[in-house]
Amino acid sequence: MNLLEVRNLKTYFSTTKGMLKAVDDVSFHLESGQALGLVGESGCGKTTSALSIARLLPKEGRIVGGEIFLDGHDVLLDSENELRKRRWRDVSIIFQGAMNALNPVLTVGEQIAEAIVLHERLSKEEALKKSQELLDLVEIPKERYKRYPHEFSGGMKQRAMIAMALACDPKLIIGDEPTTALDVMIQAQILNLLERLRRERSMGMILITHDLSILGETCDHIAVMYAGKIVETGTVTDIFEHARHPYTDRLIRCFPNIHGKKAIPEGIEGYPPNLLDPPAGCRFHPRCEYAFDRCRVEEPLTRHVGGEHTVACHLVEETR
């Protein structure tokens, strides 16, 4: 059974200018112990998808359609009370700005213990003790649990956030750009750490990023999002070596490859669409070099093209 099953998820935001379709009919799944990379440009709905799974949307955001099953449990039926119990145990999120996510007036140990006390029958002392074990797990010296966030470096704060996310042994951990603000060396350390923890504890992991280049080393599967839709999914090899959607192909080519020819990548002309009024047909058609009449009027369906590889593009059908 799949650990996570997202079917036809639609999450809209009501704004003063109308309905913003941040996530529009998105489906994907994740087996336990596997890592899925969710990749796309800013504003394509990656974070909204993650917040929908954890039911942490801001009040303007509403899930207007679809289903989310986590370990067989229908997440969308939960009341706020049930949700509070389930968060941290079922799913926890590591947010992007670790520097801003920690409370500056509490010690790091206290903050980790706070989450434990809320969910497990442990005294504060026991929880503090467990917080030391968790720090040890993320390779921070135990003694530092008494320290305040400002005494930690950026990389250590991000490790502390990971320790907190692990506090209640979640089944699924979501990293929302967990390494974006960090240096390359620290990024590599954090990615190695996440990889190790995922294997040791056989957790499911969703890694949200705009940086395609880090996914090859950390994920089993990749889902590529564009303007609120998933345009292509597959194994890492499917995506990197046999990309079928023009957007995926162009996105991969945006990253310089030092083992290849030294030339400035082509980039993608234009900008992602405004999701208040997305283009008709395929949402990528205004920026797509292969777009033809059908792309402008008819939305492409998601099709299986072998194995677990799926693509939503009219071209795939035409060339079959």
Binding site: M156, V184, D211, L212, N257, I268
Partner: protein
């Protein structure tokens, strides 16, 4: 180290130290106040129309070098020369210098005044420079700068506010502002690191085009080795205020000799590469620059450090044409 003959900017033994502000009572203490050695003896030059990348992690001092060149922070010692002569220190001289050397900052979301029209933002350097221009000429200069920065037609942008533009367009506005005084040298501090990959390449292409058309030289500050390789002629690798290795971009990437350069190469993510085995990652983090390190600054994290590295500091030694390394191993 030999200075290039036709250098637009050359830096000799530049040091920038910051004193750490102390509490009131420490005035009575006999201990010397701690000093952060942000830049600690850096020598290099940038040729006309050349792009030199300064690569390093946070805290390596790369941004401070850029600011010290433009006299935005004052160097503790060392000299900065521009166009063959030391950068003047008097008010008038600095005023003239700043018209020819400009800076592009990292974050286009914070470096533009949200309440000004794009036209005013771009014209501001011109107004500050105090050149007495008629409204017509000023207007023409703004349009020219916007169009050079790829914001065409300029009319579409003149009377818009920053919030109406995307990140890539904003960074083009920043570049237009830097271009309006027709500089010969630009310090570009992480100009694309806030932008999506698909937008990045447009900005890089623009920078290269300006170099070709207007012979502008860049000091390109970045933490991303692959970007540095892509855009620059030469690369200098910095660690804790020192240059560890400097040479032609291709040479550094393909045949980098310093253990730190090699460590940076090892962790660089490559798109499409599925790496099976665990990669070698340096342990720990860049130490605090306020702590004095004996010997090589990298010795504490270097996997190949030996006794001498902890006692003596290696000098930059030329190992090939234009390629210098500061390491006892080579």
């Amino acid at each position: 180290m030999s200075q290039q003959k036709d250098a637009i900017v050359s830096v000799e033994d530049l040091r920038v130290h910051f004193e750490v502000r102390q509490g009131f009572f420490s005035a009575f203490s006999k201990k010397e106040p701690p000093v952060v050695r942000a830049v600690d003896g850096v020598t290099f030059s940038v040729g006309r129309g050349e792009i030199l990348s300064l690569v390093g992690e946070s805290g390596s001092g790369k941004t401070t070098v850029g600011k010290a060149i433009l006299q935005l922070v004052s160097p503790t010692s060392g000299t900065v020369s521009f166009d063959g002569a030391p950068v003047p220190q008097d008010r008038q001289g600095l005023h003239a210098f700043r018209q020819r050397a400009q800076m592009i900052f990292q974050d286009p979301y914070q470096s533009l005044n949200p309440r000004h029209y794009i036209s005013d933002i771009v014209a501001e350097p011109l107004d500050v420079a105090g050149t007495d221009l008629s409204a017509d000429v000023r207007d023409a200069r703004v349009r020219e700068a916007l169009e050079q920065a790829g914001l065409t037609p300029a009319d579409d942008y003149l009377y818009r506010y920053p919030y109406e533009l995307s990140g890539g367009q904003r960074q083009r506005v920043v570049i237009a502002g830097a271009l309006i005084l027709k500089p010969k040298f630009i310090v570009a501090d992480e100009p694309v690191s806030m932008l999506d990959a698909s937008i990045r390449t447009g900005i890089l292409k623009l920078m290269l085009r300006l170099r070709d058309e207007q012979d502008i030289a860049y000091l390109f500050i970045t933490h991303d080795l692959s970007l540095a390789w892509l855009i620059s002629d030469r690369i200098a690798i910095m660690y804790l205020g020192k240059i560890m290795e400097i040479g032609a971009a291709e040479e550094i990437i393909k045949r980098g000799l310093h253990p730190y350069t090699q460590a940076l190469m090892a962790v660089m993510p490559v798109p499409g590469q599925v790496r099976e085995s665990g990669r070698t990652v340096l342990e720990g983090e860049t130490p605090n620059a306020a702590i004095r390190i004996e010997g090589c600054k990298f010795s504490g994290r270097c996997p190949r450090a030996f006794d001498r590295c902890r006692k003596e500091e290696p000098e930059l030694v030329e190992v090939g044409p234009g390629h210098s390394v500061a390491c006892f191993l080579v």
